[in-house]
């Protein structure tokens, strides 16, 4: 696992987002075992309690399940994974729209700009 940490932000949130990303992109698949607290702490050189907290939060969001005596696994529930994907997409959209509004773009202008860009990209791929 390779994470470039930003020490200005809580570390547990960064690891959470990283693991969610791995799940959404399919690098971690439903039912895959995830590393132990110890392994991940040693690998990332971070505090074991921070890793513990990450896993607790992931469990609370039912993204990760603990099987007694066996370790932690990525949820097999596709719906949960879809929800994370939508949540993360929403975050990206929120940031984008806020940025565009700060530049002075409004509703229809933003939609038009997005449509034009997506269209251009699709054409670019066709060449």
């Amino acid at each position: 696992m390779g994470i470039e940490f930003d020490n200005n932000q809580p570390i547990y949130l960064q690891i959470m987002n990283y693991i969610k990303g791995e799940i959404i992109t399919g690098k971690l698949k439903p039912g895959d075992k995830i590393p132990s607290v110890r392994e991940l702490a040693a690998e990332l050189q971070i505090n074991p309690n921070t890793v513990q907290r990450t896993f607790q939060e992931l469990e609370r969001e039912t993204i990760v399940e603990t099987r007694r005596g066996m370790g932690r696994y990525v949820t097999g529930n596709e719906e949960t994974i879809l929800t994370i994907k939508k949540d993360m997409a929403q975050d990206v959209l929120d940031r984008f729209i806020r940025g565009m509004q700060e530049l002075g773009f409004q509703g229809e202008d933003i939609i038009a700009a997005v449509a034009e860009n997506v269209h251009q990209r699709d054409q670019g791929q066709g060449d």
Partner: protein, 233 residues
């Protein structure tokens, strides 16, 4: 969280100079705490008091309820900022020495750590580089079965690769039910291994907080906060 270390109103004077002034804090079991401060802030003095190598002018220190003294020696493992080894020693002698001093010294753990650190028992201590010597000192300290590990400037060497190796060893060989109090003035590389940090300035605590909470509340790294607090030093 169970209480491991309790320090109450500790003051230490050397003649007219006040090295520590009314220092109080508690550490829980299973935590790693960074003791941060610039040179001369009182970090080493505080460590020596907790290790029982020196006595406070006033105030009390206890480890799992045991007042610091003869009875606390088996609970606390101290890595001082100067090597505990002698120049005639080989690495193997250093291990035997430590074993003679401390019945809780875990020889097999020490050998595993040596291998991880790429040190050999036949290496002469005198010929070790500064970084390799730090690795040896850390091995000696962490191989004791103690409740509290006091590591005074374990990453003093400037070589970033050597620093990474020491951090790796710390995370690999640290027993999770014990606690570590680690002093340093190099914050950037190491701040992610802390649960809490204590800023010590001119012998007084100016901040003691959870690092994740600090990042959350202030949106700043510990290194940045450290530079703010100690800017005028």
């Amino acid at each position: 969280m169970d209480e491991l270390l309790e320090i109450q109103n500790v003051t230490k004077r050397f003649g007219s100079r006040q090295a520590l002034n009314e220092v109080s804090f508690r550490l829980g079991a299973g935590t790693i705490t960074g003791l941060l401060g610039s040179n001369g802030s009182g970090k080493s003095t505080l460590m020596k008091l907790i290790a029982g190598l020196s006595r406070p002018s006033s105030g009390r220190i206890s480890v799992i309820g045991v007042p610091v003294g003869m009875d606390s020696k088996s609970l606390v493992s101290f890595m001082p900022d100067v090597p505990v080894t002698e120049s005639w020693m080989k690495v193997g002698d250093a291990l035997r020495f430590q074993q003679d001093f401390y019945p809780d010294f875990d020889q097999s753990k020490a050998l595993r750590m040596l291998e991880f650190m790429k040190l050999r028992t036949e290496d002469k201590v005198r010929t070790l580089s500064k970084g390799m010597n730090e690795r040896l000192q850390l091995t000696l300290a962490l191989s004791r079965r103690a409740r509290l590990y006091l590591l005074d400037e374990p990453i003093g060497g400037v070589d970033p690769v050597a620093r990474t190796k020491i951090l790796n060893a710390l995370m690999e060989f640290y027993e999770e039910d014990s606690s570590i109090l680690l002093s340093t003035h190099l914050v950037t590389d190491i701040e992610r291994i802390f649960d809490e940090v204590i800023f010590l300035k001119d012998g007084e605590i100016v901040l003691h907080h959870s690092v994740e909470a600090l990042r959350q509340e202030r949106g700043k790294s510990i290194d940045e906060l450290f530079r703010e607090v100690f800017a005028e030093c």
